[in-house]
Symmetry: C2
Subunit: 294 residues, 2 copies
């Protein structure tokens, strides 16, 4: 956890600062990785709460920062946003770059899990990178973020990441995150091609191991107590067959989580793009602000 | 002017629609060109005013649409935004792709003029493309935009384009645009490397021809009557030596245009990036709305 932050670039943004950092990641098997961090102006007066944004397939740490439209409201609310990359880069594993929806080719398909198949387990540990390494590195650097006030959101594969990280944290009693939201998330990965491919590839126990540990529609049934989840998706999303939001909604309701705890909104005509995400960005920031500033 | 619109893609965005179109451009010398067009939801009830956004070097029709943060307020105000490309593509002119700040290599350096050197004059006519061809094609297609309520803005090279197109229109008495704004514009191209290179390359009369016809700091002195201009730039802009906003401001004041007519704002710590642009996007949309909805 002793990685040192190197500043790649920094831009003033909505009176705060958007900085791209590089670190040598230990949990990703001694590889360079980058992340973007937005600090609102009020961070100059003391520690601020933070929202972690997990991007989807084909993305990097830049997509959400550049296209998400999140910072205008985050600046107003005084909330930091952390944008990790989506996958390790440069591990050099055989077949790593062959597919667009697995490994690192054009995909960044880290799936926000810790790999258990030996071929991948040295490097593909995005779960520990997001939940442990980045907070530790940022705290050690003295950046004024209060990780006891943390929430998480994401898009598509990153929506899967946000939901599973949030739910697993609650199941473990860790309460690391106060709320979770997602745009067009992969809600039932063990039942769809993207998720099955990832689980078969990264996990020694394949789809069954994935279903037990990293499937939001399974995990939501295991949480005792209240949860705070907002999900948005669009009816014109050509990847809906990979997402299954209705399966997650039913599992949440069956487990006793009502519409205050789990709100799933279906938007007529919207697709899977950042044009969709940025249309509802403001709602997500204010949703999380309710909990981060409580 | 008989080019036909082909829809490349379309996404619902802030209750309106962001559509990418392709046309075979006549004024660009029979080349394919693309543009993005945001139509707000109220366009379903009748023609809406339009704001033309001109992007800078290295950009395409996508940068402003994806990173500018303009549509949230444009949707609220009920204003369309047209995002042309920055240069012809595929003309195949010798040396066209050699430089990053001229021609089309990584640059898209059309400079929003009509070339007069024979080598470039068949294709490099972004001025006519933006001011004549695109409005004609969009009107002919029956898209509900009222081009009698039109304003123009841009960034860097596109800020140069917006200023010169706006001022030249006023000098000609055409009043094609109601207002003009720019982020980090090239304000005195005849005196800086980017502008000199473009003028020497594209214009038979070189820098002198450029200074007479396409230099905002010269043109602003030739306008009779009121003008409506807003310019924003940042003190951390590493390209300030290419921009000269203070020269433009002095020329405007010398010509009798006061701070109501020409407002130039200097923002401490902001740079040349879209993180700067999107921080002040809202101000620009509302500035233009004052005139477009008057």
């Amino acid at each position: 956890m002793a990685a040192t932050l190197e500043t790649v670039s920094s831009s003033k943004h909505h009176e705060g600062t958007l900085t791209k950092y590089k670190i040598r990641s230990i949990v990703l098997g001694d590889l360079d990785t980058q992340f973007n961090l937005f600090l609102p102006a009020n961070a100059a007066q003391g520690k601020v709460p933070v929202l972690v944004y997990l991007a989807g397939l084909t993305c990097t740490e830049d997509n959400g920062a550049q296209k998400g439209g999140f910072m205008r409201d985050a600046a107003t609310e005084g909330i930091a946003i952390l944008f990790p990359d989506t996958s390790p880069r440069g591990a050099g594993i055989e077949d790593e770059t062959a597919a667009w929806d697995f490994g690192v080719g054009k995909s960044g398909a880290g799936f926000y899990l810790n790999a258990t198949r030996s071929k991948w387990s040295k490097h593909y540990n995005m779960l520990d990178h997001v939940t442990k390494e980045l907070p530790a590195v940022i705290e050690a650097a003295g950046i004024p973020i209060d990780f006891s006030r943390q929430s998480i959101f994401g898009h598509s594969m990153g929506g899967h990441g946000a939901l599973t990280i949030y739910l697993n944290s609650l199941i473990l009693g860790a309460k690391q995150y106060r709320s979770c939201s997602a745009f067009s998330p992969i809600c039932e990965p063990s039942a769809v091609p993207w998720g099955q491919k990832a689980f078969r590839g990264y996990l020694a126990g394949g789809v069954e191991e994935g279903k037990a540990n990293y499937d939001a529609s399974v995990l939501v049934g295991k949480v005792k107590g209240a949860i705070n989840i907002l999900i948005d998706y669009g009816t014109a999303d050509t990847f809906l067959y990979q997402l299954h939001p209705e399966v997650f909604l039913k599992a949440a309701r069956d487990a006793g989580h009502d519409e205050v705890q789990v709100r799933v909104r279906c938007h007529e005509g919207y697709d899977h793009s950042y044009y969709f995400i940025s249309s509802f960005a403001s709602d997500h920031i204010h949703f999380h602000a309710n909990f981060l500033k409580a």
